[in-house]
Structures are given as structure tokens and as C-alpha cells.
């Protein structure tokens, strides 16, 4: 926008410099009328392409879709790193792992309900599994405020989709399927990463892909990380889960898992994460997406844990011990 003004400012400057009023006479005033016109035209020629480019850019996919849809309130797209602008340098309130698995009836995600403030377990009932539209579920780890902003953005888009559909009550295939949501999140995350102001999240997307004729297709499970890497798989995990839960999930995964088996497997992984991740809680939520019922998110519940192995119970600090733990 500042570039718009440049030709006009240039003209004003030249006019003031070349004025014949005695007050402004300067020994070094060299501008004849012809030279003025040359300078003005040179400046205009250089700035106009920049202006056009700016106009085109605002409609392009580089912004992750139309500007109205991709701008998250509070971010300045013009110069993100300038002093006075805010950008995420480190996460403050964070969620830990999210894990997901495909099963016979659809896709299932699990996450705990803890949002930590550094090492403090501050918010024990935070929802990290959220439905975007009746057929798509996302789970987010990382900075919780960025996850909330992303959820708002996605839900706004989903609402617009619903309201501009041919019918409010019937499926017409125009609602975004999970694969589209995953791709859109990828575009948003990559765009933010390019502006050095990432949404500090790892997002898991669960749902179904859509066939060409608009009908619901295969189960879909995808992940997008904070720099815009996007991939899909049968089993996925973020954060600590990628170290501790993925090996378990990969070992036990079969294409024809029943819902109960899938759930037990996810609970086992969440239990391991509670034992071994300092930022995890034993209060978890499980969510599933199925063709018939769409998204269902359970209420939070507590996992059972085991602490009574004999070697756990025996104390190690006695004076006859080896000084270990």
C-alpha cells in the first residue's frame, strides 16, 4: 500500500524542488521540466509492476486460499518480524501426544486432556480432539492457543460450506472431506512457516476421503506438523507418541481391527505415555469417525495404571543397598 503513494510523493517532491519561488532557489537545483518528467516516468514504471504483483498475490494460493479465509486475526501479513508485531517463538501452554489408528469401521484418535504450562499441569480438562464438520475430526499437540485459532478458522470455513451448500439438510458432496481439510491445514501451516511465524502444532486429521462422485470413500488419517510437512498412514502419533506409541501401534496394527480392539490398543499406548511422558495425564479422550455416525468424541475418563510389581515395591534406599534407586 505504501508503494501506491510513491509516484505521487515523487511528483510532489520534484514540484517543490523546482519551484521558482525565491525562497526555494537552490544553487544545486538542476531539474528542468524535461528531467522532471523523465524521473517521474521512471519511478512510475518501476513501481507499477510491484503494485500489480501485490494485487495478484492477495488472491493467490500463496496465502493459503482467499485472503478472507486464510487470515487468522492477530497476525500481520505485511511484515511479521518487525518490532511491535507478535510471533510465536516458543510454545507456552502445550498439549502432548495425539495418537490415531485406522480400524474396520473408520478411524480412531486418542489424546489426554492436559494442557501444560511449562512443567506445570495447569489445565486438566482441555479438549484436544475437536470435530470440524460432522465427518472430520482433528487432534492437536503443541501450543494450545494456536490449536484453538486453527480450530476456529477451520470451523468457520466448515460453517460457510454448510451455509452455502445447495441444501442445509441433504448431502451434496460439497462439504470438505477429511483429506481436503488435511490439505488445507498443510497450506496454512506452510504459509505461516514461510512467514517465520508458525502455528506451533502437530495436527492429526481423521475422517474419510471423498470419491470423485462425492460419496464417502476410504478411511483417512493424516498428520501435518508445524512446518507444513504432511503425510498419511494407517497409524500416526505426534510428540512423545511418535517415539513410544508408534512402535506399539505398528506392531499390533491389522487392517481388520474391531472397534474394541482398536480402542484397547490406543488405551495401552496412552497408558505407556502416562508412565513415560512427564507432560502426560491419565485422563484421556477417545474419538472415532465412522461412515454411519460421523464424529463421536467420548467424555474424558481416567485410565487404570499398574504400580504393584514386586521390584517397584521394594525400597532401594536402605543402608545395605547399593546406593542406587
Amino acid at each position: 500500500r505504501k508503494l501506491f503513494a510513491l509516484p505521487f510523493i515523487a511528483r510532489l517532491l520534484l514540484i517543490s524542488l523546482s519551484s521558482n519561488h525565491p525562497k526555494y532557489h537552490s544553487k544545486r537545483s538542476i531539474h528542468t521540466v524535461l528531467e522532471q518528467r523523465i524521473i517521474i516516468s521512471i519511478i512510475t514504471i518501476f513501481t507499477t509492476p510491484l503494485l500489480l504483483l501485490h494485487l495478484i498475490m492477495s488472491f493467490s494460493l500463496a496465502a493459503g486460499g482467499s485472503t478472507t479465509r486464510a487470515s487468522i486475526p492477530g497476525t500481520n501479513t505485511a511484515n511479521p518480524a518487525a518490532p511491535g508485531n507478535q510471533r510465536t517463538t516458543r510454545p507456552i501452554v502445550t498439549g502432548t501426544s495425539v495418537i490415531g489408528i485406522k480400524y474396520a469401521g473408520g478411524v480412531m484418535l486418542a489424546a489426554d486432556t492436559l494442557a501444560s504450562y511449562g512443567s506445570m499441569a495447569k489445565y486438566k480438562n482441555a479438549n484436544r480432539l475437536v470435530s470440524i464438520n460432522p465427518k472430520t475430526l482433528i487432534g492437536g499437540g503443541g501450543e494450545y492457543s494456536d490449536f484453538q485459532a486453527l480450530t476456529t478458522l477451520l470451523r468457520k470455513a466448515a460453517l460457510e460450506d454448510r451455509c452455502t451448500a445447495d441444501s442445509l439438510y441433504e448431502e451434496d458432496g460439497s462439504e470438505e472431506c477429511a483429506r481436503e481439510v488435511w490439505n488445507y491445514i498443510r497450506a496454512v501451516m506452510y504459509n505461516r512457516r514461510n512467514k517465520m511465524n508458525p502455528l506451533w502444532n502437530d495436527v492429526v486429521v481423521a475422517g474419510f476421503a471423498q470419491d470423485k462422485d462425492g460419496s464417502t470413500g476410504e478411511p483417512f488419517l493424516g498428520l501435518v506438523d508445524k512446518i507444513g510437512t504432511a503425510y498419511g498412514d494407517d497409524v500416526l502419533a505426534t510428540g512423545f507418541g511418535s517415539y513410544l506409541a508408534l512402535p506399539i501401534l505398528r506392531e499390533k496394527y491389522r487392517g481388520d481391527l474391531e472397534e474394541g480392539e482398536a480402542r484397547a490398543l490406543l488405551e495401552d499406548c496412552m497408558r505407556v505415555l502416562f508412565y513415560r511422558d512427564c507432560r502426560a495425564s491419565n485422563r484421556i479422550q477417545i474419538a472415532k469417525v465412522t461412515k454411519e455416525e460421523g464424529v463421536l468424541i467420548s467424555d474424558p475418563y481416567e485410565l487404570d495404571t499398574s504400580w504393584d510389581s514386586a521390584s517397584f515395591v521394594t525400597p532401594k534406599g536402605e543402608i545395605e543397598g547399593d546406593g542406587g534407586w
Binding site: A81, G84, Q86, S119, C278
Partner: protein, 234 residues
């Protein structure tokens, strides 16, 4: 990379985004980011601790024993670097054993605490250790000494320590009373440590306690699914 707004530069650079509890540890060093506590009562002392040993965000040991015995009736609760506190405990155990033989008497808790203090103070730039020394001796009965980072040694009516202790200052200040009985002290230790474990990410697992009296050392173990206040919270 340009500087961020909203943080003054020295503040940002000082910690560089690292968490408070791990920034002074060497890379990969184990920390007993912890909750430890001791309450003396008439005739003895109750000492308790959680059981989580962490390396950064990974739980290296979820059932460790942070209550170490220094002598027959003298114990210490360890917090800070696991390596540093194990080494300190070994030294003090050795010195106390020698002292007991040389004097023919039980060493006092005060002596044990001051030995620990000497080691912590004279190596203060090389150690990351906060301990609570407590026990029973015939001179003072039950007593508790808190030795935080730096090597201060201070006798206290009750002591809490470790990273989780910050969450229970209010609780212990309001629930503690002078001249508690053995059972009251034990209940408070268990309750306070549970609450700290519920909020501190570096504390968790089980609660180990020891009740030290003239007659015996009674060890107790509370599993993580039978805590007075569970980690899931409200």
C-alpha cells in the same frame, strides 16, 4: 533470525526457551525433579517423596526411591541431579559410619545435616542438589534440616523441597500445626505430595515414606492408583 517483540532481549537470551528445571543440567543428565517432604513429630520424623526421575520430558524411572538411609535412624530425601545426590549420600553415609565407630554413639541428625552442608557448600558451583535430612536421635528427638541449592543448612518445623514443592506451599502452610501426632504427620505428607504430583510435571508415580522412631524405621509405599488425590484432578 530477528528478535521477537514482547520479550526484552536479555530476558529472552538468558534462558533461550529452555525450561527452568533443566537449563542448569548438563545434556542428558538425569534430574530428580521432585517433591520431597519431612515433618517431625513427638518421638520421630516422617519423610516422604515421589518416585519420578526424568531426563527432560522423559520419565527415566517411574518408581525410584528418593528416600535414602544415611545411618540407622537418619535419612535424607534427595532432589536435583540424581547423580549428584547419590554421590553426596554415599559420602555422608561413609563419614557417619566412621563417626559412629569413633565416638561409639549414634550420630545426631544435626551432625549428619552439617556434614551434608559441608559437602554441598564447598562444592556449590559443581553440584545441583537440594536435600532434606531428617531422623531421630536421643539428643533432639525427631528433627528436620533443609539443605537447598548453595549449601544453606537450616533447621525447620517441617520441610518441603524439589520442583513440586512450589505447588504445595499454600497447602502445607495452612494444614501444618505444631506438635502433630505420628498419624497426622503421615497423612499430611501423603496428601501434600499427592497434590504436588498432580500439578508438577516432573513429579509423579508412587509415594514412598519412612517413619523414623527410636524403635524402628517403617517404610510405606502408596501406589500411583491409590493416591489421596489423583493426578487427573478435576
Amino acid at each position: 533470525m530477528s528478535m521477537s517483540a514482547g520479550y526484552s532481549m536479555p530476558q529472552q537470551m538468558a534462558h533461550d526457551g529452555k525450561s527452568a528445571e533443566t537449563r542448569n543440567l548438563r545434556p542428558n543428565e538425569l534430574s530428580t525433579g521432585t517433591t520431597i517432604m519431612a515433618i517431625p513429630f513427638e518421638g520421630g520424623v516422617v519423610m516422604g517423596a515421589d518416585s519420578r526421575v526424568s531426563t527432560g520430558s522423559y520419565v527415566a524411572n517411574r518408581v525410584s526411591d528418593k528416600v535414602a538411609q544415611l545411618h540407622d535412624r537418619i535419612w535424607c530425601c534427595r532432589s536435583g541431579s540424581a547423580a549428584d545426590t547419590q554421590a553426596l549420600t554415599d559420602y555422608v553415609k561413609h563419614y557417619l559410619a566412621s563417626l559412629a565407630i569413633e565416638t561409639g554413639r549414634r550420630p545426631t541428625v544435626k551432625t549428619a545435616a552439617h556434614l551434608m552442608r559441608r559437602l554441598c557448600y564447598e562444592n556449590k558451583d559443581r553440584l545441583l542438589a537440594g536435600v532434606i535430612v531428617g531422623g531421630w536421635d536421643p539428643v533432639d528427638g525427631g528433627s528436620v534440616y533443609n539443605i537447598p541449592l548453595g549449601g544453606t543448612c537450616i533447621k525447620m518445623p517441617f520441610a518441603i523441597g524439589g520442583s513440586g514443592s512450589t505447588y504445595i506451599y499454600g497447602l502445607t502452610d495452612s494444614e501444618f500445626k505444631e506438635n502433630m501426632t505420628r498419624d497426622e504427620a503421615l497423612t499430611l505428607v501423603k496428601k501434600a505430595i499427592s497434590h504436588a504430583m498432580a500439578r508438577d510435571g516432573s513429579s509423579g508415580g508412587i509415594i514412598r515414606t519412612v517413619t523414623v522412631t527410636e524403635e524402628s524405621n517403617d517404610r510405606e509405599f502408596i501406589p500411583g492408583n491409590q493416591l489421596p488425590y489423583g493426578p487427573a484432578g478435576w
